[in-house]
Structures are given as structure tokens and as C-alpha cells.
Symmetry: D2
Subunit: 443 residues, 4 copies
């Protein structure tokens, strides 16, 4: 058995935490129960590039109980929970290649390790595994794959548009029971959670700037508002901007937002959303975090260049001391001092301010907290497991395209979740069904 993990001694804590997550994933449990009897992946190799968290562990075990050989690498250098990785290897026999805070080279080496098992089915979160396959010399091709995120789906559709997609992918992200819940309620809660664990800052009364009003951004804005913040939304799409206005938020250009924000969170899927022209406008002690998939939304390179000094002031909180003044305007030499004496607000030739970046600009919910709660991953990963089963059964009929999750799977996941929550809903009556399919009854 192969693996590359941080520390095998962490497995005990990992096992407990996996159990905790498992107990909060009833839909996936029902799927696992059936899979363990039907063994739909018997003899197959499945390779997954996902955040190595407790919930992913439960998915991996589900695939294994279904008969697959499962190998797993990280989909982000900073999201691995090392105790979970250890438990997966030593308690459950999953081949894991993933170490928290690994460098980029190791990150891609681990992807190659997973590919060395020639998986028939790939699972991706951000499309790094599938794009690695597309970039290297093709020695083999999987039957099909799944993709978990908005960002990954955008990348794959770009590939598809260029006519270069080499094997079929199911866009799990596009399932209603995924993006309506995971991206909104999951990212919403866990982003605030990550900020609080990193800073313990009072959200109430802050100006909280959310960049991007897709499902993730909507979730973050909703929870920031629910925490008492005054939320500002930055958007480039007029439809989403208008929706944010109607939801009661201020919508501003990034420059105007930069000058007033206390906390900034990016969730756009795009690059350099907050950049030099914005850093120099910010207030002293502004906090910057990212909830988009890649660490490119905050332009850290130009922030590094601006900085006079940079240091870690708390775990996963980096302070950048920069010259451009904020409010209140403080002398640089005061800001350099590390004491509790009062910072004098007086003009000197070198005024400066402090900006704080959380989790190195990577997904703040995974870098500074534990990622999405098990209860939402339950649905996302039930979709994943059932989509993998769909590929295993239908791969020979699928074209090299990006597919949606079959609607029946989506509905089924929702129904099982309600059942697990002990919530009964009515069915349509015969009369009601008939009425809906008729066009003749009017006023």
C-alpha cells in the first residue's frame, strides 16, 4: 500500500472526527448501505482530488465499500486535515497522498501518484486532476469523471468549448442539491467560521465587503448580514448586481468599497479581484480573506511588493505593513513597535497602515476552519457517489462532454435528506397533477 501523509500518529484523532462527520451524513449513509450490498465499483480504480477533510473521508469509504480501490490527493495545498489523512490510510486502507501546507511541486507530484493507479473514474474539486491529464502525454484515459466546483466547471466548459475535452465529466456542482445548498449555506457559514477562528473579530457593526454575488457570495452576504454586518457587494454582472441591490445590500465599485471596508471576502472565481489600486485605498487594520477556489483573487504578489514588513501575528493571519496611509493615519515607526502603549496619531514623513490576509489567500473556510459542515457535504457527496455509479453503468454511451447530474438523482438526494430530517411533505393529488398538465382551465 502506498501513501504520503504527515504523521501516522494522528490517526486516532482523525478516526473520531470521521465518525463524527459520518453521523451527520445520513443520505450518504443510505447510499453506502446500498453500495455495500451491490458493489457497483467492483474491480474499479477511482482517483479523487478533493479537500482531504472528514466529509471526503466518508465519501472515500463509501466508494471503497462499493468495491473500488480508492486513491486520494488534495485539491488545495492548505486544506488537508492531516489527522484525517492518517486515519484513512491506517484505519481504512485508502491510499492518500496529501500533506497540509505542501508546496506546489509536491501538490502536483501527489496528483501524479493518484494517476499512477490509472483510475477509471476521477473526482475533481477545481479540475486540477483532470487538467493534469489533459496537459500530460495521454497514456490512458478514464471512463469518466465528476467535478465538484463552479470554478472547475468553468475550466471544463472552456476545455469543451475548445473541443479538447478528452472524456465525459458530470458537473456535480450544477446539481440543485449541490450548488443551492453547499455553495450557499455551506460556504456562507464556513466562511464566517474561518474568519472568526482566525480573528475572533466582532462582525456586528463592521462594513463587510463581499466580492461576487454567485451562490457562494450570496451565502456569505446572507450570513454576514445575519451576524450584524453592514454588507457591501461588488459585482460585474448587472443581473447579480441588481439582485444584490434588491436584497438590501449596497452595491459599489471595488474602489469605493476598498475605502470603507473592515472585512473583505472574495468569491468570484476570477483573478486579481482585489489588487494594488485597492490596497492603497484601504483603512488601517482591514482584513482580507478569500472563499473562491484558487488563491488568485487577492493579488498577493503586488501586496508583497507594497509591504514594508510582513509577519504572522496569529496562526494563518499575516500582517502586511504598508506605507500608504489609512484611517486613522499612523506613523510607521509606531506600527512597527510591538507594545501595548498607545499608538500616537501624528503626522510623520512615513505614515502607514496594517492589512491582514487570512490563510494566505486560500479558501478561508478550509485554511482557518474545517470546511463545509458534514450536513451539506452529505448532499454534495451523495450526488458524487451516485454520479460515479452513473458513470460506471453508462460510460460507454457518454460523449466527451460536460453533463449535468441526472434530475432523478438530484430529486432523490433531496427526498432522502428530508426523510433523514424527519420532515414529511405532501404529494400532489391526482386532481392537482391533472390540472398542471392541462392548458384549458383558465379564469
Amino acid at each position: 500500500m502506498q501513501y504520503d501523509i504527515k504523521d501516522k500518529n494522528l490517526s486516532k484523532a482523525g478516526k473520531k472526527r470521521i465518525e463524527w462527520a459520518s453521523n451527520r451524513m445520513p443520505v450518504l449513509e443510505l447510499v453506502r448501505n446500498r453500495f455495500s450490498k451491490e458493489k457497483p465499483f467492483k474491480g474499479l480504480s477511482i482517483g479523487a482530488c478533493l479537500h482531504v477533510t472528514t466529509e471526503t473521508a466518508v465519501l472515500a469509504l463509501t466508494l471503497k465499500e462499493a468495491g473500488a480501490r480508492v486513491s486520494l490527493c488534495a485539491s488545495n495545498p492548505l486544506s488537508t486535515q492531516d489527522d484525517v489523512a492518517a486515519s484513512l490510510v491506517f484505519d481504512y486502507g485508502i491510499e492518500v497522498f496529501s500533506i497540509r501546507q505542501e508546496d506546489t511541486k509536491t501538490y502536483y507530484k501527489h496528483i501524479e501518484s493518484v494517476l499512477s493507479f490509472k483510475p477509471q473514474i476521477t473526482l475533481d474539486d477545481g479540475a486540477d486532476l483532470v487538467s493534469t491529464i489533459h496537459k500530460r502525454k495521454q497514456t490512458y484515459l478514464p471512463w469518466g469523471g465528476t467535478e465538484e466546483t463552479t470554478t472547475g466547471v468553468i475550466r471544463l466548459r472552456a476545455l469543451e468549448k475548445e473541443g479538447r475535452l478528452l472524456y465525459p465529466i458530470i458537473a456535480v456542482n450544477d446539481a440543485f442539491t449541490k450548488h443551492l445548498f453547499d455553495n450557499r449555506y455551506g460556504t456562507g457559514q464556513s466562511t464566517i467560521d474561518g474568519i472568526l477562528r482566525a480573528t475572533n473579530k466582532l462582525i456586528s457593526g463592521t462594513v463587510f465587503v463581499v466580492c461576487g454575488y454567485g451562490f457562494c457570495g450570496r451565502g456569505i452576504a446572507m450570513r454576514a448580514k445575519g451576524s450584524g454586518a453592514n454588507v457591501v457587494v461588488v459585482e460585474t454582472d448587472p443581473l447579480k448586481a441588481l439582485e444584490a441591490v434588491m436584497d438590501g445590500y449596497r452595491v459599489l465599485s471595488m474602489k469605493k468599497a476598498a475605502a470603507i471596508g473592515d472585512i473583505f471576502v472574495t468569491a468570484t472565481g476570477d483573478v486579481s479581484v482585489i489588487r494594488k489600486e485597492h490596497f492603497i485605498l484601504m483603512k488601517d487594520k482591514a482584513i482580507l480573506a478569500n472563499s473562491g477556489h484558487f488563491n488568485v483573487e487577492i493579488d498577493l504578489k503586488s501586496l508583497d511588493k507594497l509591504a514594508v514588513k510582513k509577519r504572522e501575528v496569529k496562526p494563518f493571519v499575516t500582517e502586511y505593513l504598508i506605507k500608504s496611509p489609512g484611517h486613522p493615519s499612523l506613523p510607521l515607526r509606531t506600527l512597527r513597535r510591538r507594545t501595548l502603549s498607545v499608538a500616537k496619531c501624528q503626522a510623520t514623513r512615513s505614515q502607514g497602515k496594517r492589512l491582514y490576509v487570512l490563510g494566505e489567500g486560500r479558501l478561508v473556510n478550509l485554511a482557518c476552519a474545517e470546511g463545509h459542515p458534514a450536513e451539506v457535504m452529505d448532499m454534495s457527496f451523495a450526488n458524487q457517489a451516485l454520479s460515479c455509479e452513473y458513470i460506471a453503468k453508462n460510460y460507454d454511451k457518454l460523449k466527451k462532454k460536460v453533463f449535468s447530474v441526472p434530475q432523478a438523482i438530484d430529486q432523490k438526494v433531496a427526498g432522502l435528506k428530508l426523510k433523514a430530517m424527519n420532515i414529511d411533505i405532501d404529494a400532489l393529488t391526482k386532481e392537482q397533477k391533472k390540472y398542471l398538465s392541462s392548458w384549458q382551465e383558465g379564469t
Copy 2:
């Protein structure tokens, strides 16, 4: 010039109110401005079956300034604002056939009046005009039409599915700038408004039951919650039910909801959502209203049968006195009395309770208030006007199908609305556009 309206003397008040609405519809104003120069409907007849409100008046005038002969009838027997109808005829030369509280026979006679002008383009709100065309002997066919509502689109897709749709229809309802805004923010606000005007009831602290969690239902639930209610949602679709749960609402079966609700609102597009088995479970003084398109969602026929007595206690508030007891349980003879003496809570052989139905079970926002605010109809009707223009220019290429609003129109409407609200948003930078269309940049 032909018309059939209530009272020409109401025109003065109507004119003022149309002006008020017009001043709150800046996007439609920009469209009207261009149309008045380009005259895209020169020589055409346009027939509209819409709620005859101030906002519809502004749309009708926009079509007229664009060169069309416009005729208008009501899309609901109880939604016509008679002063608006009068002003349209006498101040603006629109041929209107519509009288508030007209009976069903007159309602359909008025539809025939509009069809007598052989409109090349039809506008519908609920599909009564287009279905009339489909039911009668075809002497002529329009070039194309538009449909405003979820309900109408469902009917038209049923027609399309049967292969019987006779001319192309653009589903304006499906535009983002329509259903995301009109159905949610419009219906949300105006439904609460209708209930308040009819009852002046404190919403805070009530158990408020919303049947249906589509865009209308979501809007109603959101505003009821925002008014301090404890909201219960009834749904048959597991996806929507689950979304309601995650939004913090209680989701119950209709029977369980019936027993605890203070106020009930239906917005499902389906029939007999609240029926005999539910009425008998309700509490004394429960209030029932409908915000779905047709007056079929509350089964008034069976309520009539249940009732010992029925009377109008306030304008558009009908009291049904029924035998089945509620909480508190009161003797029927006490409930019949019309005094201010204390209602004694004592067991007699004839216990009873009172249920109140608003606006005869018709759209409560139009029956008891003024319908959607002009600010949302601004977008819906800009979509209507631009879709009509699209038909006028492309009718010879369109198949007999239900079409979506072209995305460019949708985006344009949103952009114009933001501009009118003086809200600036950023554009994507070159670097950002490039990033979004690339699949190669990963971790």
C-alpha cells in the same frame, strides 16, 4: 373608437396615478423614448390581456408611441383599476374592455373584443387570451405573443407538449429580470400589502403559512418573516421543501399547517391546495388569501358548502361561519351575534368558528391592494416591450414554440435599471476575462 369601461368620470384620478407610475419606470421610459423615434410597430395591431393597472397603462402607451394600435382587456375579473381604464380611453386613446368585478361571461366577451382587432402580437398574463384563440375556430393567427406569468407558461408548455401550439410565444416570465424580481420582490411586498389593507392585522407573532416555495412563495415568505411572522412553508417538491428548511422555515404537510396557521397564502399555480380537509382543522379567525394566478387554489366551493353563514365584514373580506370547532371553541350562536359583548367559551351542541377569505380568493395583491410596485413592473414590462419588438422583427423565422427572452434583452434591462438607480458597477478587466476563458491555470 371602441371601449367598455366602468365610468369615464374616473379618468382624472387615473391620469394622475398613471403619471405617478410612469415616473417610477425609468427603464421602460428609455425604451419608450427610442420607440417613439423608431416606431417599430408602425401599422401593427397589438392586443393585450393584462391586469389593467397603472403600470400596464404605461406599457400600453409605450406600445402606442411605437406606432401600434393597442387594445386591452383584463387578465383577471377583480384586478382592473377602473380609473386607469377610463384615463387610457379618454386621455390616451387606447381601446380598453375591462370593468372591475365583471362576471366570467363579460370577462371572455372582453377578450373577444380585443381579438376582434386581429392583433399581430398578443400579450398575455395567465394565457387566457392565447388559450381563447386556441379554443375557438381559427379565422386568423397572430404572428407571435408574449406571456407574463409562471402559470401561463405552464399552460403554454402543456399546449406545446401536445404539439398544438399555433404560434410562437416568448415566455417573458422566464427572463431573469422578470421572475427573479417581479415574482419575488414584487409579489412578496404586494401580497403583504394586500393582506394589510384588507385586515390591518399585526403580522408580527402570527403563524404565517405559505403554500408553494417557488419565486412568488419565496418572496412572500421572506417578507412575512421580515414582518415578524413565524413562517411555515408547505411544498410538494422535495428540492423546494429542503430549500425552505435551510432558509430557517418550518416545513409541514398542509394538514399540520392547517391546524396552527393564523394567515394562509397560496402561491402554487395548482388547484385545491387548501380544501375541506384543511378548513375543518383550522383555528377560529384564520385568514386565507391567494397570490397564485387563478382563484382555484383555495377550494371555495367546498368552503361555501361547509358554511352555516357567509357575509362581507369589510371590503373584500368574507367571513365564513362554519360548524367545525377551532381554537378557542365557541358556541355558534355567540358567533352569529354582532355585538361587542364577550364571546363566552362554553360547550354547546353547536360549536363553530370563523374563517376569513380575502378578495374572493383572487390575487390578493390586486384585489385588495394595487398590485406590484411600478419599480418592478418597470423591468417586467421593459422585457415585454422589447420582446414584442423582437417578434415584430423576427416573426417570420420563429417556430411554433415557447421561447425564452433573448439573453441580450435580459442583460440590457438589468444594466439600464442599475443606471437609472445611479449604481455603478465595475467591468471585468482584460486579465479577468482571459482568466475566465482559460482552463490551464490551476493551483
Copy 3:
């Protein structure tokens, strides 16, 4: 029997509406039930200066059933519901002196009519009756009185402070079951209701400025936010300003707020809160309303002077056309025109804008809607009735001071309300009571 009302023929509609309110006032009903047996006011004259609404009618009848001769005048020239006044006189034998839109002279003449009955107990809403007594030559003095509002209590405490209060007053406003509920949930809902009935404006997406963050202001802000507005608060008290910030609102100076608001509501109890320096900064089409007791919060005199033209565009909506430009900047001559043609945005020598004042700057919930819902007045007026009883029983022991409502009354009202809503709460256990009164049990 004496009276001065608008039209006796309105009594039928009034009676129905009083009955409707009565059915929603269960606590007052329980009080009325007891009073009708015990007759605590037998032989007494009670004079009330209150908003003549359906709820006040139920209070007046309660006092009458308790044995009193009741006379009633208005506490605001614009809040009388003429149908209610008619029914009170002709159906129930209450002596009413009150006509909607009466002038100030008549207003005070009606107060004198009530005083002509030499009431032993007075009820006030804004302290106009009690201050009239204090200003005129004292020919007699009541035993005691009650006051309903924050504004009235402020006036009475000023009197008390000057040592000139002539008879004891119970500040009903200060009861928890009054100001926590009536001022917050009542004013919150009915203020939005008044604005909607007057304007049918979409609240969602507007910048909604609330001046004053007392209990009324908090309620208005809460409901505006719940309606989708972006709420701005203006305060002069740092404690309240800070609370508004922590509640997620923007807190701005009046000048900054003036420049960005779409809707303004005052609820401060003070004078000239919005004045010339603010009007000139406002945007075109801004809407101004007042929810404070007196019509002095918006400085209408200076607005009148600023105006080039003034007209009523809808019932209780006055348009002021003023020269100072707003956004967008429009030529005055365009704004004067009453057509639907496009308003051209071009610079001319006479740029102008339109401001809209609702209900002549008087209480917008009473001028444009029906005032507080019966459900909250139920508690306020139960406090009133029980406080009157307290005066009748204890007047000879009371000093000439402003008193609080006895706590037992307050608790009782809350308990009865919960019971009427069928909500059970636990009592403290013996162990819990003991624990609370002990200081010895620590860590």
C-alpha cells in the same frame, strides 16, 4: 346627547370595522368582561383625547360598560376615522367631537367640548388635553389621567420638572407591554403600511432613512430592513447611534443621509429634524414621511418657501417642485409638464427636482393607513383601562406626579395576551426560585 362628527350615515361601515377590531383585542375583552360586572367607573365622567380609530372605539366601549359617561375628541387633526366616530355616537352612545382634517381651531374647540363634561379621569395621546387644562383658567381639576405616547410623557415630565403638574398622570407609554410592543411592532408595521398605501413604492433596494432610533425608530428600521431596504439611521444620542451600528445599519449625519435617501421617516419627538439645509441636498423624487407624534419633525414651512410649485398628486401625497437640483438633474419646465413623454436630462438655467411629502407630515400610519393593528392596541389599551381603574381606586393617595404603570398590571397584560394566543410557558420551579434569591452558590 352632544357630538360633532362628519356624517352619521357612515356609522354602518364603522360598526363593522369596530367589530373587526374588537375580535382582535382579546385582552381588552377580558377586561371589559370583568368591568361590565364590577362597574368600577359607575357615575364617573371620563374624557379621552385619542386617535379616533376602531381600537379606540373598543377602549371607549370598555370604559362605558364599566359605568362611565365617556366623551372623546381627536388627538390629531388627520387621524380620525369618520365612520368610527359615527358608529360610536349612533350605535353606542359615546359623545364624540372629531372630524378628519379639521383645522386647529376646531381641534381645540373639540378638546374644550370634552372638558365641558368635567371628566374625573382624562386619557391623552400627546398631552394636548392635559396641557389645555394647564393653560386655561382652572375651574376644576380631574382626579388623574393617563398618557399614551413618548412625546406626551416628555411634555408631562417637563411640566413636572417645572413643579407645575396639577394632577397625577400614569405614563402608560412606559409600560413594557406598551412601548416594547406598540412603539416597535405597531409603529414599525403601520409606518411601512402607510407609505405603501400612499405610494405603492417598492421598498426593496431603496435607501431608507430613519431619523431617531428609539422604540418607534427601531421598529421602523427593522420593518424597512425586513422589506428589503438599505436602511440608514440618523441619531443624536451616542448610545442609540452605537446600537444602530451594531444592528448592521449605516449611521450618518442628517446631511449625508439627505443626499442619498429615497425614503425618509422621522420618529424623534423633536422639531425640524429635516429642514431646508437637507431638502436642498435631496435626490429627485425623494419621499418624506413622519411617524412622530406632531407634524413638526419635517420643517414644512421652509419647504413651502423653497417650492416653485406644490400640488397633490395622489391622495395624501403632496409634490413640492423645488429649484435646487437633485439626481438626475432635470429642467424645471420638464418637471412641470404632466405627460408621459420622456424627461430630458439636459442642463438649463432652471434645474429642479420633486420632493413628496406624505400625509401633510402628520403621523403617516394614521394619515395614510389605519394606524396600529388591533393586536398591539389590545395591550396598550388594556393598560389604559386598568390604569384608569387604578386611578379610580387610588386617586386620593396619588401625588401630583408622573407615575409608571404598576408592574403587576404590566405582567398581567402580558400573561393574558399569551393565553389569548394559546401559548403556554413554564413557571419557575421551587428550586429555581430559591437559587435566584441566593448569593451563596457559586462555582
Copy 4:
């Protein structure tokens, strides 16, 4: 120098975290700045029994810079941050006696250590220090003291009522800038924070039961609602119960709540709020936490007795396996197993369920997270520091009573906070001041 702490090597991390907190406490910084010049506590001994957190550290340093000798012990056995204790001793020379998870005996020994310095001024959080003084033989008495919490104030008022209070206490808790902010926004946020760090549970869609609707309970309910929960409130006071109803929450008896809750939080200040009769009704996997001062609100003794098995499943999460069945009903032997296999739902003779208690039933925000954010403690502790100064200056005039914070201090703290947040508010104009003090201007 004396001290008793966990580990001096933790001081480096503690120092950084204290600096972080200090940077978020601008009001206290202004106070510290003045104190360091004026030295109001020169030569005095100050003894504090507070949660040993970063914010308390900043307060201790403020008192020290003002000239005092400061000694500090914990006000809760589980709230000490050992790194902060170490830094206070070795970087700042404060005498600290406090170790996280110390037993009760050590806890009281540490209080005695502080008292050995014979402090002239005492600071308390829960009144354990002051009650220790009252219980032991009095060898000396402090000049005065302060108390931070609702619970402590209740204990002290009980002492005062018995006529046994030995020295004057200022109830800092009762300052508006304390309880309105700290108890509501602080406890609200940090309670959710504690639950998330312990469980990573999705709050959205849960039934979240809040016991107690005082300022803490209101804050918790508000934030739980803002996190998407369906909130249920349990109260014994009819006024607070009614307020909860009007705020849109369900109000239930504890028994009814017990049967449906997913998460329970107590914040009542009373004992045995959740007890055996409630545990047996709960659902499988229910989570219990406490945010009241003492660990008596959840009756852990009777839960211990009920339990078949008890283990720690995550840090500060204790699982109690009990026989009484919940939903779904599961065989005990399945629940004992620690695997990921599906838990079969079948009837056996020994059905059971799991309950989870967070942080041993102690303050969940301190046991499982970092306590209140610095931004709210800024105000609470500015009140503390200024109240201590008030005692130092006025102790000889103060009676042995429980005093409120002088209003001037309260107002000043609010004003400084607004200034620190860069928020300008208007002052009353002369005309407005005059109007407020006049009773003569009416309608």
C-alpha cells in the same frame, strides 16, 4: 513576584494574541493613555477575578499603567487561556493565579491568592471573589468593587436585600454600553462560534432552542436566526416570552422544546433549566450547550446517572449514551459500535440515543472558543476601568450598596466608541433642545 500558571513557555503566543486584542480595543486604549499620565491607582492594590483572556489582559495592563499592583485569578475553571496567563506574568509583571481546567479546590485557592494582596478594589465576573470575602472571616475589607455579569449582579442584590453587603459595588453589567452590547452582540456571536468550533455543525435548517430571552438569550436567538436556524425560545417571564413571540420565534414549554430541538443553549442564570424530564424526550444526536455564567443550567448530574456510557468524541464534546429512545430509534449495541457501517433502525429491547454536551456545560463561548470579541469587551472594560477610577476617587462617600455605572461614564464610552469607528453623529440644535424641554407646544 507570585503566580500559579500552566506553562511559562506559552508566553510568546500569548503576547501576540494580547497585542491583537489590544489593537481592537480603541476606547480602552484612550483610557489607558490618560491613566498612564494621571496614575489614578498609584499605590493601590487591585484584585480581579475575571476570565483570563486576551481582553482581560488588556484591562489588567490598563490598571497597571495607572499605577496599581494587579493580581488576577480566573472567574471560571474552564475559561483561562494559558498562553495569556503566561505572557501577563513574564512579559508584563501581573500576578496571575489561574490554570485552565483547574479543579474547584484550586479555583478557590487562587481566589485566596488574590485576596492575600488585600486589594482596595475588586473586580468580579460572577461574584465569586466578593462572595468569598463575605463567607470568610473578615480580616479586611476592600474600598469598593465592580461586577461584570447579570448573574453576579443578581447575587449581589440578594446580598444587599439581606442587608449583608459589606462594601460598595458598581454593577458594570447594568451600563447600557455593557449589557446592551456585550450580552447581546458579544454573547450572540461567541456562542455560535463556540458551537461551530466544537461541532462544525450546519446551523441552517436546525431547530435551535434558546432557554432564556434576556439580553444574552436575545443575542443568541438573533444570531442563530441569522445563521438560518429555526429558533424556539423557552421563557418563564411572560413579558420576555411575548417579546420572543413578536420577534417571530416559536415560544414553547421546555418539554415541548425538548422533543424537537437539534441544538439547545441555556442563558437564564438559573439552575436545572434542562433536566432529566427533558433529556428523556430528546432526539438522537441532540447537542446541549450553556452560555449562562455557571455550569448549573444543564443538570449534568442527572444526565450522568441516565447515561449507559459517556466518552469524549471531540475536544470539549462529551457523548452521553442513554437508554431512552430518540428519533430515529436505534439499538444501543449499534450506538456503541465505532464504525462507519450503517446504523440499522430496528427494534431491540435496548433502544437508545446519543446526547452531546459541549464544554462540560460551562460557558460555551469560553470553553470552546475565545470568548467575546475584543471589540465588545472594549466597551465593557472601559466601563470597568472608569468605574474603578470612580471608586478610587469616591470610595469614602459610597454606601454599602449596589450602584449603577454613572450615566456620564456610559455616554462617554459610547461617544468614544463611535469616534474610534469614525462615525459622526449630529448634535441637537438649540431649537431642538428647547423644544424637548417645553410642554407648551402641541398640535
